[in-house]
Protein backbone atom coordinates (compact mmCIF):
# COMPACT_ATOMS: atom_id res chain seq x y z
CA UNK A 1 0.00 0.00 0.00
CA UNK A 2 1.95 2.91 -1.29
CA UNK A 3 -0.09 5.75 0.27
CA UNK A 4 -0.02 4.01 3.65
CA UNK A 5 3.76 3.73 3.55
CA UNK A 6 3.98 7.39 2.67
CA UNK A 7 1.66 8.10 5.59
CA UNK A 8 3.88 6.14 7.95
CA UNK A 9 6.93 8.04 6.74
CA UNK A 10 5.12 11.33 7.20
CA UNK A 11 4.03 10.35 10.72
CA UNK A 12 7.59 9.49 11.72
CA UNK A 13 8.92 12.71 10.25
CA UNK A 14 6.23 14.60 12.18
CA UNK A 15 7.48 12.97 15.34
CA UNK A 16 11.03 14.08 14.62
CA UNK A 17 9.84 17.61 13.95
CA UNK A 18 8.03 17.60 17.27
CA UNK A 19 11.03 16.32 19.14
CA UNK A 20 13.29 18.92 17.49
CA UNK A 21 11.49 21.56 19.50
CA UNK A 22 9.35 23.71 17.26
CA UNK A 23 12.10 25.32 15.23
CA UNK A 24 9.67 25.74 12.34
CA UNK A 25 7.06 27.84 14.11
CA UNK A 26 9.02 30.95 14.91
CA UNK A 27 9.83 31.31 11.24
CA UNK A 28 6.17 31.13 10.23
CA UNK A 29 4.59 33.25 12.84
CA UNK A 30 6.37 36.26 14.28
CA UNK A 31 3.88 36.82 17.09
CA UNK A 32 4.32 33.43 18.74
CA UNK A 33 4.43 33.69 22.48
CA UNK A 34 6.26 30.64 23.79
CA UNK A 35 4.91 30.37 27.31
CA UNK A 36 4.70 26.85 28.71
CA UNK A 37 0.94 26.87 28.28
CA UNK A 38 1.23 27.62 24.57
CA UNK A 39 3.83 24.92 24.10
CA UNK A 40 1.65 22.43 25.95
CA UNK A 41 -1.28 23.41 23.79
CA UNK A 42 0.68 22.82 20.63
CA UNK A 43 1.93 19.52 21.98
CA UNK A 44 -1.69 18.51 22.51
CA UNK A 45 -2.55 19.53 18.98
CA UNK A 46 0.29 17.50 17.54
CA UNK A 47 -0.60 14.42 19.53
CA UNK A 48 -4.17 14.82 18.29
CA UNK A 49 -3.01 15.01 14.70
CA UNK A 50 -0.73 11.98 15.18
CA UNK A 51 -3.65 10.11 16.65
CA UNK A 52 -5.78 10.91 13.60
CA UNK A 53 -3.13 9.63 11.27
CA UNK A 54 -2.62 6.51 13.38
CA UNK A 55 -6.37 5.84 13.20
CA UNK A 56 -6.24 6.20 9.45
CA UNK A 57 -3.35 3.76 9.23
CA UNK A 58 -5.14 1.23 11.36
CA UNK A 59 -8.30 1.57 9.32
CA UNK A 60 -6.32 0.95 6.18
CA UNK A 61 -4.69 -2.19 7.63
CA UNK A 62 -7.84 -3.84 8.87
CA UNK A 63 -10.01 -3.35 5.82
CA UNK A 64 -12.79 -5.91 5.57
CA UNK A 65 -13.49 -6.92 2.02
CA UNK A 66 -17.02 -8.20 2.57
CA UNK A 67 -19.06 -5.37 4.10
CA UNK A 68 -22.10 -3.76 2.56
CA UNK A 69 -23.32 -0.23 3.13
CA UNK A 70 -26.37 -1.21 5.21
CA UNK A 71 -24.33 -3.47 7.51
CA UNK A 72 -21.83 -0.67 7.89
CA UNK A 73 -24.66 1.71 8.83
CA UNK A 74 -25.92 -0.61 11.55
CA UNK A 75 -22.42 -1.16 12.86
CA UNK A 76 -21.93 2.58 12.83
CA UNK A 77 -24.91 3.08 15.11
CA UNK A 78 -23.64 0.40 17.48
CA UNK A 79 -20.19 1.92 17.56
CA UNK A 80 -21.62 5.37 18.16
CA UNK A 81 -23.60 4.01 21.13
CA UNK A 82 -20.58 2.27 22.63
CA UNK A 83 -18.61 5.45 22.14
CA UNK A 84 -21.24 7.45 24.00
CA UNK A 85 -21.31 4.95 26.84
CA UNK A 86 -17.52 4.98 27.08
CA UNK A 87 -17.57 8.75 27.20
CA UNK A 88 -20.16 8.78 29.96
CA UNK A 89 -18.22 6.25 32.02
CA UNK A 90 -15.04 8.26 31.54
CA UNK A 91 -16.79 11.44 32.62
CA UNK A 92 -18.21 9.82 35.76
CA UNK A 93 -14.81 8.42 36.64
CA UNK A 94 -13.24 11.84 36.16
CA UNK A 95 -15.84 13.33 38.49
CA UNK A 96 -15.14 10.66 41.10
CA UNK A 97 -11.43 11.31 40.73
CA UNK A 98 -11.93 15.03 41.24
CA UNK A 99 -14.02 14.35 44.34
CA UNK A 100 -11.32 12.11 45.76
CA UNK A 101 -8.68 14.70 45.02
CA UNK A 102 -10.65 17.42 46.74
CA UNK A 103 -11.25 15.27 49.81
CA UNK A 104 -7.61 14.32 49.95
CA UNK A 105 -6.58 17.97 49.75
CA UNK A 106 -9.03 18.94 52.49
CA UNK A 107 -7.92 16.16 54.81
CA UNK A 108 -4.25 17.06 54.24
CA UNK A 109 -5.04 20.68 54.99
CA UNK A 110 -6.87 19.83 58.19
CA UNK A 111 -3.86 17.97 59.54
CA UNK A 112 -1.65 21.05 59.22
CA UNK A 113 -1.60 23.96 61.66
CA UNK A 114 -1.73 27.24 59.79
CA UNK A 115 -4.52 29.77 60.42
CA UNK A 116 -6.45 28.53 57.37
CA UNK A 117 -6.44 25.01 58.76
CA UNK A 118 -7.60 26.29 62.15
CA UNK A 119 -10.46 28.15 60.51
CA UNK A 120 -11.32 25.03 58.50
CA UNK A 121 -11.32 22.89 61.62
CA UNK A 122 -13.62 25.36 63.40
CA UNK A 123 -15.90 25.27 60.39
CA UNK A 124 -15.99 21.47 60.27
CA UNK A 125 -16.78 21.23 64.00
CA UNK A 126 -19.58 23.81 63.56
CA UNK A 127 -21.03 21.86 60.69
CA UNK A 128 -20.77 18.61 62.68
CA UNK A 129 -22.72 20.18 65.55
CA UNK A 130 -25.34 21.42 63.16
CA UNK A 131 -25.57 18.01 61.53
CA UNK A 132 -26.12 16.27 64.88
CA UNK A 133 -28.77 18.85 65.79
CA UNK A 134 -30.44 18.26 62.46
CA UNK A 135 -30.37 14.54 63.11
CA UNK A 136 -32.03 14.84 66.54
CA UNK A 137 -34.65 17.24 65.18
CA UNK A 138 -35.38 14.90 62.33
CA UNK A 139 -35.77 12.00 64.73
CA UNK A 140 -38.15 14.00 66.88
CA UNK A 141 -40.21 15.01 63.90
CA UNK A 142 -40.31 11.36 62.80
CA UNK A 143 -41.59 10.29 66.21
CA UNK A 144 -44.21 13.02 66.25
CA UNK A 145 -45.28 11.99 62.78
CA UNK A 146 -45.64 8.39 63.98
CA UNK A 147 -47.73 9.51 66.95
CA UNK A 148 -49.94 11.52 64.65
CA UNK A 149 -50.48 8.52 62.41
CA UNK A 150 -51.31 6.34 65.42
CA UNK A 151 -53.86 8.81 66.67
CA UNK A 152 -55.36 9.02 63.21
CA UNK A 153 -55.61 5.28 63.03
CA UNK A 154 -57.35 5.10 66.39
CA UNK A 155 -59.78 7.77 65.32
CA UNK A 156 -60.57 5.91 62.15
CA UNK A 157 -61.13 2.71 64.11
CA UNK A 158 -63.48 4.43 66.49
CA UNK A 159 -65.37 5.94 63.62
CA UNK A 160 -65.73 2.55 62.02
CA UNK A 161 -66.95 1.02 65.29
CA UNK A 162 -69.52 3.75 65.82
CA UNK A 163 -70.77 3.23 62.28
CA UNK A 164 -71.15 -0.45 62.88
CA UNK A 165 -72.94 0.08 66.18
CA UNK A 166 -75.33 2.51 64.53
CA UNK A 167 -76.05 0.01 61.82
CA UNK A 168 -76.66 -2.72 64.34
CA UNK A 169 -79.01 -0.51 66.26
CA UNK A 170 -80.97 0.33 63.15
CA UNK A 171 -81.31 -3.30 62.30
CA UNK A 172 -82.41 -4.30 65.76
CA UNK A 173 -85.03 -1.58 65.81
CA UNK A 174 -86.41 -2.69 62.50
CA UNK A 175 -86.35 -6.32 63.51
CA UNK A 176 -88.19 -5.68 66.74
CA UNK A 177 -90.98 -3.73 65.09
CA UNK A 178 -91.34 -6.15 62.32
CA UNK A 179 -92.24 -9.45 63.99
CA UNK A 180 -94.30 -7.70 66.64
CA UNK A 181 -96.03 -5.55 64.09
CA UNK A 182 -96.69 -8.59 61.99
CA UNK A 183 -98.16 -10.66 64.79
CA UNK A 184 -100.05 -7.65 65.94
CA UNK A 185 -101.38 -7.04 62.48
CA UNK A 186 -102.33 -10.66 61.95
CA UNK A 187 -104.08 -10.90 65.29
CA UNK A 188 -105.80 -7.58 64.71
CA UNK A 189 -107.03 -8.69 61.32
CA UNK A 190 -108.28 -11.99 62.64
CA UNK A 191 -110.04 -10.25 65.53
CA UNK A 192 -111.63 -7.75 63.23
CA UNK A 193 -112.90 -10.37 60.84
CA UNK A 194 -114.34 -12.36 63.78
CA UNK A 195 -115.90 -9.24 65.15
CA UNK A 196 -117.52 -8.40 61.87
CA UNK A 197 -118.84 -11.90 61.47
CA UNK A 198 -120.36 -11.96 64.92
CA UNK A 199 -121.70 -8.49 64.54
CA UNK A 200 -123.45 -9.51 61.36
CA UNK A 201 -124.84 -12.60 63.03
CA UNK A 202 -126.01 -10.49 65.96
CA UNK A 203 -127.72 -7.93 63.73
CA UNK A 204 -129.36 -10.61 61.66
CA UNK A 205 -130.74 -12.40 64.76
CA UNK A 206 -131.89 -9.15 66.23
CA UNK A 207 -133.71 -8.23 63.08
CA UNK A 208 -135.25 -11.65 62.99
CA UNK A 209 -136.37 -11.35 66.64
CA UNK A 210 -137.78 -7.90 66.00
CA UNK A 211 -139.62 -9.18 63.07
CA UNK A 212 -141.02 -12.09 65.07
CA UNK A 213 -142.12 -9.82 67.91
CA UNK A 214 -143.80 -7.36 65.57
CA UNK A 215 -145.39 -10.04 63.44
CA UNK A 216 -146.73 -11.96 66.43
CA UNK A 217 -148.58 -8.82 67.62
CA UNK A 218 -147.66 -9.55 71.24
CA UNK A 219 -147.93 -6.81 73.77
CA UNK A 220 -144.38 -6.72 74.93
CA UNK A 221 -144.69 -3.68 77.17
CA UNK A 222 -146.58 -5.54 79.87
CA UNK A 223 -144.27 -8.51 80.15
CA UNK A 224 -141.05 -7.27 81.91
CA UNK A 225 -138.73 -9.93 80.42
CA UNK A 226 -140.05 -9.31 76.90
CA UNK A 227 -139.79 -5.53 77.48
CA UNK A 228 -136.09 -5.78 78.50
CA UNK A 229 -135.24 -7.83 75.42
CA UNK A 230 -137.12 -5.42 73.17
CA UNK A 231 -135.36 -2.36 74.73
CA UNK A 232 -131.90 -3.87 74.33
CA UNK A 233 -132.70 -4.56 70.68
CA UNK A 234 -132.74 -0.88 69.98
CA UNK A 235 -129.19 -0.20 71.25
CA UNK A 236 -127.22 -2.02 68.68
CA UNK A 237 -127.12 0.07 65.55
CA UNK A 238 -127.97 -1.42 62.24
CA UNK A 239 -124.74 -2.22 60.39
CA UNK A 240 -124.17 -0.92 56.89
CA UNK A 241 -125.90 -2.90 54.23
Amino acid sequence: MEPLDRLENLASSLETVASNGFQATTADNGQKDSSPAEILRMKEQMSNQCFEMAVKLQAGKSKRSSCSASDAEKDLLDYANTLEEAKIIHFNKTLALHRMQVWHAISEKLKQSDPEAVAMRGLTSCSLDLCSKIKTLQQESCELQDQITDVKKQRLDLKRLTHEKMKEMDELKRKREHPEAEKYRNVLQKGQSHLEKYQKMATITQNVLRGIIIASKVNWRDDPKLRDIAMTLEDIPISEE
Binding site: P3, R6, L7, L10, S13, L14, V17, F22, A24, T25, D28, N29, K32, M42, E44, Q45, M46, N48, Q49, F51, E52, M53, V55, K56, L76, A80, L83
Partner: protein, 185 residues
Protein backbone atom coordinates in the same frame (compact mmCIF):
# COMPACT_ATOMS: atom_id res chain seq x y z
CA UNK B 1 -5.26 10.67 -10.40
CA UNK B 2 -5.98 14.15 -9.21
CA UNK B 3 -7.66 13.21 -5.98
CA UNK B 4 -7.24 15.57 -3.08
CA UNK B 5 -5.93 13.51 -0.22
CA UNK B 6 -6.25 14.47 3.45
CA UNK B 7 -3.12 12.88 4.85
CA UNK B 8 -0.67 13.22 2.01
CA UNK B 9 1.11 16.20 3.55
CA UNK B 10 2.36 17.17 6.99
CA UNK B 11 0.15 19.42 9.08
CA UNK B 12 1.52 22.80 10.00
CA UNK B 13 2.06 23.74 13.64
CA UNK B 14 -0.88 25.66 15.06
CA UNK B 15 -2.26 26.08 11.58
CA UNK B 16 -5.53 25.18 9.96
CA UNK B 17 -6.28 25.28 6.24
CA UNK B 18 -9.74 25.54 4.80
CA UNK B 19 -10.77 25.25 1.18
CA UNK B 20 -13.92 27.02 0.01
CA UNK B 21 -15.35 25.61 -3.19
CA UNK B 22 -18.00 27.73 -4.85
CA UNK B 23 -19.11 27.86 -8.42
CA UNK B 24 -20.24 31.52 -8.38
CA UNK B 25 -17.24 32.90 -6.46
CA UNK B 26 -19.21 35.62 -4.72
CA UNK B 27 -19.66 34.44 -1.14
CA UNK B 28 -16.27 32.83 -0.67
CA UNK B 29 -14.35 36.11 -0.61
CA UNK B 30 -16.48 37.67 2.12
CA UNK B 31 -16.45 34.47 4.14
CA UNK B 32 -12.68 34.14 3.77
CA UNK B 33 -12.07 37.67 5.04
CA UNK B 34 -14.36 37.18 8.04
CA UNK B 35 -12.85 33.83 8.94
CA UNK B 36 -9.31 35.18 8.93
CA UNK B 37 -10.32 38.19 11.00
CA UNK B 38 -12.22 36.19 13.62
CA UNK B 39 -9.53 33.75 14.63
CA UNK B 40 -6.66 35.13 16.67
CA UNK B 41 -4.93 32.22 18.36
CA UNK B 42 -4.66 29.86 15.42
CA UNK B 43 -3.13 30.51 12.03
CA UNK B 44 -5.96 30.07 9.54
CA UNK B 45 -5.26 29.90 5.82
CA UNK B 46 -8.19 30.12 3.44
CA UNK B 47 -7.90 28.86 -0.11
CA UNK B 48 -10.58 29.54 -2.68
CA UNK B 49 -11.52 27.39 -5.61
CA UNK B 50 -14.22 27.33 -8.21
CA UNK B 51 -14.43 23.58 -8.44
CA UNK B 52 -12.34 20.47 -8.01
CA UNK B 53 -9.97 19.15 -9.32
CA UNK B 54 -7.51 21.76 -8.20
CA UNK B 55 -4.91 22.83 -10.74
CA UNK B 56 -1.76 20.72 -10.79
CA UNK B 57 0.58 23.71 -10.86
CA UNK B 58 0.27 24.52 -7.14
CA UNK B 59 0.27 20.88 -6.10
CA UNK B 60 3.62 21.14 -4.32
CA UNK B 61 3.17 24.51 -2.65
CA UNK B 62 -0.31 23.85 -1.46
CA UNK B 63 -0.51 22.94 2.24
CA UNK B 64 -2.57 20.15 3.69
CA UNK B 65 -6.27 20.98 3.48
CA UNK B 66 -8.08 20.29 6.75
CA UNK B 67 -11.62 21.17 5.77
CA UNK B 68 -13.30 21.35 2.37
CA UNK B 69 -16.46 23.45 2.30
CA UNK B 70 -18.84 23.24 -0.64
CA UNK B 71 -20.88 26.41 -0.91
CA UNK B 72 -24.15 25.73 -2.72
CA UNK B 73 -26.50 28.55 -3.68
CA UNK B 74 -29.97 27.12 -3.80
CA UNK B 75 -31.11 29.73 -6.29
CA UNK B 76 -29.18 28.08 -9.12
CA UNK B 77 -29.20 24.46 -10.14
CA UNK B 78 -25.72 24.80 -11.62
CA UNK B 79 -24.25 25.38 -8.15
CA UNK B 80 -25.47 22.03 -6.92
CA UNK B 81 -24.38 20.19 -10.02
CA UNK B 82 -20.87 21.63 -9.95
CA UNK B 83 -20.56 20.66 -6.27
CA UNK B 84 -21.67 17.13 -7.11
CA UNK B 85 -19.10 16.76 -9.89
CA UNK B 86 -16.37 18.18 -7.63
CA UNK B 87 -17.12 15.54 -5.02
CA UNK B 88 -15.66 12.87 -7.27
CA UNK B 89 -12.21 14.42 -6.96
CA UNK B 90 -12.06 14.08 -3.22
CA UNK B 91 -10.35 11.15 -1.57
CA UNK B 92 -12.80 9.09 0.55
CA UNK B 93 -10.66 9.89 3.58
CA UNK B 94 -12.08 13.41 3.49
CA UNK B 95 -15.61 12.28 4.21
CA UNK B 96 -14.76 11.29 7.75
CA UNK B 97 -15.33 14.73 9.16
CA UNK B 98 -13.31 16.92 6.80
CA UNK B 99 -16.09 17.93 4.41
CA UNK B 100 -18.89 20.35 5.09
CA UNK B 101 -21.77 21.65 3.00
CA UNK B 102 -22.83 25.28 3.25
CA UNK B 103 -26.16 26.27 1.74
CA UNK B 104 -27.36 29.81 1.12
CA UNK B 105 -30.83 31.21 0.34
CA UNK B 106 -32.58 28.31 2.01
CA UNK B 107 -35.37 30.62 3.12
CA UNK B 108 -35.97 32.09 -0.29
CA UNK B 109 -39.50 31.54 -1.57
CA UNK B 110 -38.46 31.23 -5.19
CA UNK B 111 -36.27 28.25 -4.44
CA UNK B 112 -37.91 24.92 -5.22
CA UNK B 113 -37.94 22.83 -2.04
CA UNK B 114 -36.75 19.72 -3.86
CA UNK B 115 -33.32 21.25 -4.27
CA UNK B 116 -32.80 21.58 -0.52
CA UNK B 117 -34.11 18.05 -0.06
CA UNK B 118 -31.65 16.69 -2.60
CA UNK B 119 -28.77 18.59 -0.97
CA UNK B 120 -29.82 17.16 2.39
CA UNK B 121 -29.94 13.66 0.96
CA UNK B 122 -26.48 14.12 -0.50
CA UNK B 123 -25.10 15.35 2.82
CA UNK B 124 -26.85 12.55 4.72
CA UNK B 125 -25.53 9.86 2.42
CA UNK B 126 -21.99 11.21 2.85
CA UNK B 127 -22.36 11.66 6.62
CA UNK B 128 -21.41 15.31 6.42
CA UNK B 129 -22.83 18.29 8.27
CA UNK B 130 -25.03 20.73 6.41
CA UNK B 131 -24.95 24.36 7.45
CA UNK B 132 -27.34 27.04 6.33
CA UNK B 133 -25.97 30.55 5.97
CA UNK B 134 -27.25 33.95 5.09
CA UNK B 135 -24.88 35.73 2.80
CA UNK B 136 -26.48 39.16 2.44
CA UNK B 137 -25.90 40.65 5.89
CA UNK B 138 -22.61 40.96 7.78
CA UNK B 139 -24.18 39.22 10.76
CA UNK B 140 -25.01 36.21 8.65
CA UNK B 141 -21.48 36.10 7.27
CA UNK B 142 -19.93 36.34 10.75
CA UNK B 143 -22.22 33.60 12.07
CA UNK B 144 -21.33 31.32 9.19
CA UNK B 145 -17.63 32.06 9.67
CA UNK B 146 -17.90 31.31 13.38
CA UNK B 147 -19.50 27.93 12.76
CA UNK B 148 -17.04 27.01 10.04
CA UNK B 149 -14.17 27.89 12.36
CA UNK B 150 -15.56 25.59 15.05
CA UNK B 151 -15.68 22.66 12.62
CA UNK B 152 -12.30 23.60 11.15
CA UNK B 153 -10.56 23.54 14.50
CA UNK B 154 -11.81 20.05 15.20
CA UNK B 155 -10.97 18.82 11.68
CA UNK B 156 -7.43 20.21 11.97
CA UNK B 157 -6.89 18.39 15.25
CA UNK B 158 -6.56 21.60 17.27
CA UNK B 159 -9.25 20.69 19.78
CA UNK B 160 -8.10 18.14 22.37
CA UNK B 161 -10.17 14.98 22.74
CA UNK B 162 -12.08 15.59 19.51
CA UNK B 163 -11.33 14.46 16.01
CA UNK B 164 -13.21 15.13 12.81
CA UNK B 165 -14.52 11.58 12.74
CA UNK B 166 -15.92 11.88 16.25
CA UNK B 167 -17.58 15.19 15.49
CA UNK B 168 -19.08 13.84 12.29
CA UNK B 169 -21.06 11.27 14.27
CA UNK B 170 -22.63 14.16 16.17
CA UNK B 171 -23.18 16.62 13.35
CA UNK B 172 -24.23 14.44 10.47
CA UNK B 173 -27.13 15.66 8.45
CA UNK B 174 -30.33 13.65 8.55
CA UNK B 175 -33.24 13.59 6.16
CA UNK B 176 -36.68 13.53 7.87
CA UNK B 177 -37.52 10.05 6.60
CA UNK B 178 -34.32 8.78 8.23
CA UNK B 179 -35.46 10.10 11.59
CA UNK B 180 -38.83 8.36 11.29
CA UNK B 181 -37.15 5.08 10.43
CA UNK B 182 -34.87 5.39 13.41
CA UNK B 183 -37.85 5.98 15.67
CA UNK B 184 -39.45 2.75 14.51
CA UNK B 185 -36.26 0.87 15.20
Amino acid sequence: MSLLKPFSKLPGLNTANILLVENEEQFQQKLADTVVLQEKTVNVNVRLARSLPLPMENEESRPRIDLVVFIIHLTSELSFQSAETSLKYLDPGYFQGKVCFLVTNARNVSVPPERLVSVRKLAASLHCPLLCAEDQTTEGVTTAAHRLLAILKVAAGLVPMATGLYLSTLTRCTVPSDIDQQNFE
